[in-house]
């Protein structure tokens, strides 16, 4: 029996096979057929023949499909439209999944943003460090000349050159294209002639006229060719001009230096680049103002000299020239006043004594990171080590954030396993899915990036204090934004890559039946958690050890009084009134001791001197084996009581004894060097007076006392031999205050100072401050470790928090059933937390040995160091566990407290 409806359906199916016809067309054709059939029925056709006739009239399917399909062609061929609609779909789905899980999206974005912000700050720091002095023109061809010198066993490195070096290089060295010369100047007191008040300028240098051309410095006012030509002229930076004169254009104005020399301003230069060796320098005095500027003496090591080599010059060739300088120029100069000296005899003498003097170079761009601090350095240098440590920290921070991202994404992806299953069933291929998830992770990554820039912006001032820097975000640098965007994308793809492939791997049949939800990726997730916490534990241990060591150093019994000790510097400003000032200060009731000396028991660069014991003469001369290199400090009678040093044998210098001018006080280390005991050392005679020709009149110093060893160098070093001799001419006054009212004491001292030398600034500091400066590097390291430990812990906790939330949700039914069967909330909380505690425990076991090893390596740098005790590890482990319990328990308790009926009912 013919069935019209069935026949029409069957007929329509032919069209459905072809993608050309959309739903509307199919319906339209169906209606056409029905209309036609109705008409034919009205004409008396049977249903069957009416249908057959209508179908025949309608025609063949393939030709129609082809015709219809050609209608679609134009739009399909537009690939970009297709891609756009594809990606807009990805974005749509991404946005949906974000809004569906706001908590997860927040955790993910925020964690990644924190890591990125940290990474961004550290990258800026490293970029800043690596780009010191690169802004100068042809920086790759500019070199600074150095001297390495060893005399009497004391080795020193200088960043300066002798005065005649410049002329020699310009005249005779074929490799030199340009040369500029500075001259070291101590800090100077500056005032306008019409005023009284002096201002201290710490960063003043002499410079020749070439300095501006050499370093591409632009004069805002004045002529750079002539500005520093005449004696008593100066060029100052614009901010210095504003500081002293209140205007930028101070051309033609004058300044009085050290109350005696009048200098005229002939140029105003832009401020020095912040990351250059000249960064703090504000005042350049013309080189011709200095008497020794054209000196032919080779012992004038006060002239930092920079050369620009010709292009394509080999540094070795230039070094080869430098190696000849000593024999060709220096020794002929010395021969004029040392009778009998020849090149050969000086070489012979060097061989015997082990002395040497060598010229070499440091590349301009290596000064900041790849050179030690030499004498006469313009600004304190950093160390490539710091860059490595920061790179390490930054790398791990970002790694932590990525790991977090992967962990959370894979965990929450399980929730989407059904989505993946359905997409796959509907014909989505794996790469489409991968693209979808990568789009999502890139979006989150970009979102984090924006957040990270804001966080970095807010944190930058604090970071600058922490790292002792003045970094700015280079807003105007397009390259910066490009790199930022690219690294954000790369991070997104990297951290999204694993979850994407993980998700797209789901087998649709399994996930739709609900299998994969139980096991997927758990192993990898767990190991990532272990990894995160291992790093956190490592950082906690490091922070604790660094702080313990710094604390140990600061509180170690140093053998002298460092608290309540005020140091007044730059006594030169007093002229010949130093003694009067000292006596006046001594009268103040709150002052207990005052001493004059240039030597402080804090680390600084001090020279040593060669001593011989009486009788160590080998015939007519001293043999070099019996020479002892010992530091010698000039002190007065009040030095030992002021610093509260302990005399363990003999006595201190005393005004009663006129013979003390040839007296000598040793520390224990010197006694050990002499191979005797403190008691026996008293009365021994030593000499430094070995160069005189009439050996019988040689002057000896007699040991009158021995002081207990005290730490005058950093605790990185052992206590070395040290001697005191009685001598005046001090530049510092050491004042021990009797009570704690420091501000009153300082006021009184300042008042008295102003009475004696009105207008001069009083330059003072507390000795423990200067002492703390010594350990600035360690303190900074400690602070940096602490901040980033906190950050990494925070990120790890965020991740753990998210995982715990996920875990609790995944096991919601299980918890419900357990509760129904009588489990207590406490038991369930315990159970849920235990899973994570196991991971943290593994992390601790992994991290402790590594951190033990690393911190012992760091501590090995110190002669006086703490032992890393088990407490440090216990505390670190305890902290990690407490933090993880706090993080996890909130979620666990929340899950455990929920009414089981609610969980079990919902499906």
């Amino acid at each position: 029996m013919f069935n019209l409806e069935k026949s029409i359906d069957k007929w329509l199916k032919q069209f459905k096979k072809h993608q050309a016809f959309d739903h509307g067309s199919l319906r339209e054709m169906e209606l056409h057929l029905r209309d036609h059939v109705d008409d034919l029925l009205a004409k008396g056709y049977s249903e069957k023949s009416a249908f057959e006739e209508a179908v025949k009239e309608f025609g063949e399917v393939p030709s129609m499909a082809e015709e219809e399909f050609s209608n679609h062609q134009p739009s399909r061929s537009l690939v970009s439209t297709l891609a756009f609609s594809m990606y807009s779909n990805y974005f749509k789905v991404a946005f949906r999944s974000f809004t569906k899980q706001p908590f997860f999206t927040f955790l993910n974005t925020f964690g990644l943003a924190i890591g990125m912000a940290g990474g961004l700050l550290i990258s800026l720091f490293i970029y800043d460090e690596l780009n010191y002095d690169t802004m100068f023109p042809d920086a790759d061809r500019v070199y600074r000349l150095n001297i390495d010198n060893q005399t009497n066993g004391e080795y020193s490195e200088y960043a300066t050159s002798p005065s005649p070096m410049a002329a020699v290089l310009l005249a005779d060295c074929p490799q030199v294209e340009k040369l500029t010369r500075f001259r070291l100047v101590e800090n100077v007191l500056v005032r306008r002639p019409e005023t009284q008040l002096n201002v201290k300028e710490n960063h003043v240098t002499g410079a020749d006229t070439m300095v501006f051309e050499m370093f591409g410095l632009k004069l805002m006012h004045g002529n750079s060719k002539t500005a520093l030509k005449e004696p008593n002229t100066m060029v100052m930076t614009v901010s210095s001009a504003v500081k002293h004169f209140g205007v930028e254009n101070a051309l033609g104005q004058s300044l009085l230096l050290n109350d005696e020399d009048l200098y005229m301003v002939t140029g105003i230069v832009e401020d020095m680049p912040k990351n250059s060796f000249l960064r703090n320098h504000t005042v350049f005095l013309s080189l011709s103002s200095f008497e020794d500027a054209e000196s032919l003496a080779w012992n004038t090591w006060r002239f930092p000299t920079f050369v620009k080599l010709k292009p394509q010059t080999k540094l070795e060739d230039f070094q080869a020239f430098l190696d000849t300088v000593k024999d060709r120029y220096l020794i002929p100069w010395a021969m004029t006043f040392v009778p009998g000296l020849t090149v050969e005899s000086s070489k012979e003498a060097e061989k015997v004594s082990g002395n040497f003097m060598r010229f070499n170079t440091t590349a301009l761009t290596d000064i900041h990171l790849h050179s030690s601090d030499r004498r006469g350095e313009f600004s304190p240098n950093s160390d490539i080590q710091n860059v490595y440590i920061m790179t390490f920290i930054g790398f791990f921070l970002i790694l932590l954030a990525c790991v977090n991202f992967m962990n959370l994404s894979t965990a929450y992806s399980l929730k989407r396993s059904k989505e993946v299953g359905i997409r796959k069933t509907l014909g989505s291929n794996r790469f489409g899915l991968v693209r979808q998830f990568l789009t999502e992770s890139s979006l989150i990554s970009l979102l984090s990036l924006i957040l990270a820039v804001f966080i970095a912006l807010i944190a930058l001032p604090y970071f600058n204090v922490l790292a002792d820097k003045s970094i700015e975000i280079p807003y105007l640098n397009i390259g910066f934004w490009v790199i930022l965007l690219l690294s954000g994308l790369v991070l997104g793809l990297l951290s999204g890559g694993y979850p994407a492939f993980f998700l797209s791997r789901f087998v649709p049949v399994k996930v739709l039946k609900g299998h994969s939800g139980n096991t997927g990726g758990g192993g990898i997730r767990n190991s990532l958690v272990v990894f995160q916490f291992a790093i956190s534990v490592f950082l906690i241990v490091s922070t604790l050890v660094v702080y313990q060591q710094v604390n140990y150093i600061q509180n170690k019994e140093l053998g002298f009084q460092k608290d309540q000790v005020l140091v007044i510097d730059n006594l030169r400003a007093m002229g010949n009134q130093t003694q009067a000032f000292k006596e006046g200060v001594q009268q103040l009731s709150q002052v207990s001791n005052v001493s004059l000396s240039s030597y402080l028991p804090t680390p600084s660069k001090r020279g040593s001197i060669t001593y011989f014991i009486e009788g160590a003469m080998d015939g007519e001369s001293f043999s070099s084996e019996s020479a002892m290199i010992i530091e010698q400090w000039d002190i007065d009678q009040d030095y030992i009581p002021t610093l509260d040093l302990e005399v363990i044998a003999g006595r201190n210098f005393d005004r009663e004894y006129g013979s003390d001018s040839s007296g000598l006080i040793l520390n224990e280390a010197t006694v050990t060097m002499l191979g005797t005991t403190p008691e026996e050392a008293i009365g021994m005679r030593l000499t430094t007076d070995i160069h005189r020709p009439d050996k019988e009149n040689m002057e000896y110093l007699t040991v009158i006392g021995v002081v207990k060893n005290f730490h005058y160098e950093t605790l990185r070093n052992d206590i070395d031999a040290l001697t005191f001799i009685l001598n005046g001419g001090a530049d510092k006054m050491i004042v021990r205050l009797g009570n704690d009212d420091f501000s009153k004491s300082i006021n009184d001292i300042e008042e008295y100072w102003n009475k004696l030398v009105p207008g001069q600034p009083l330059d003072y500091y507390f000795m423990n401050e200067s002492f703390n400066d010594t350990y600035k590097a360690e303190l900074r390291l400690g602070n940096i470790f602490m901040v980033f430990t906190f950050l990494s812990l925070f990120i790890a906790s965020l991740g753990l928090f998210g995982l715990a939330a996920f875990n609790a949700e995944k096991r919601i039914k299980e918890i419900g059933i357990k509760k129904v069967l009588g489990a207590s909330a406490r038991y369930i909380t315990f159970q849920l937390s235990l899973d994570f505690l196991k991971l943290v425990a593994i992390a601790i076991i992994v991290a402790l040995p590594i951190s033990w090893y690393a911190m012992n390596r760091w501590l090995d740098d110190f002669s006086y160091r703490i032992d890393v005790g088990w407490e440090v590890f216990a505390i670190s482990a305890f902290l990690a566990i407490v933090i993880s319990i706090l993080t996890v328990s909130y979620q666990s308790i929340k899950a455990a407290m929920v009414n089981p009926v609610k969980n079990l009912r919902s499906e």
Partner: protein, 109 residues
Amino acid sequence: MISKNLTAASTKPIILGILKQGNSYGYLIIKKIKELSGGKMKYSDGMLYPVLHRLEKEGLIISTWVMEDDSVRPRKYYEITEAGKKELIQEQAQWSEVNAVLNAIWTTQ
């Protein structure tokens, strides 16, 4: 019987011409063509729809689904647009020219 090619070529002006007389739907359009040609234009009904869809895409006609009160089925009604009317004028001119040429040739023979 009018050849297949010529039928195909003339479909566009015919459809536009019919629609100019008033809105209509597929089945009615084909019925009208058959009536007018006295069955001499051999059409398979289905071929009309791709053409309608193409014309719609070109913006010469627009369509709306309408449920008429007196009918059991909805219909997809097509309506000629202003652009369609202009196109029809051009088509008419072209066909007239072809016609004129043919007439000129044949009257001289």
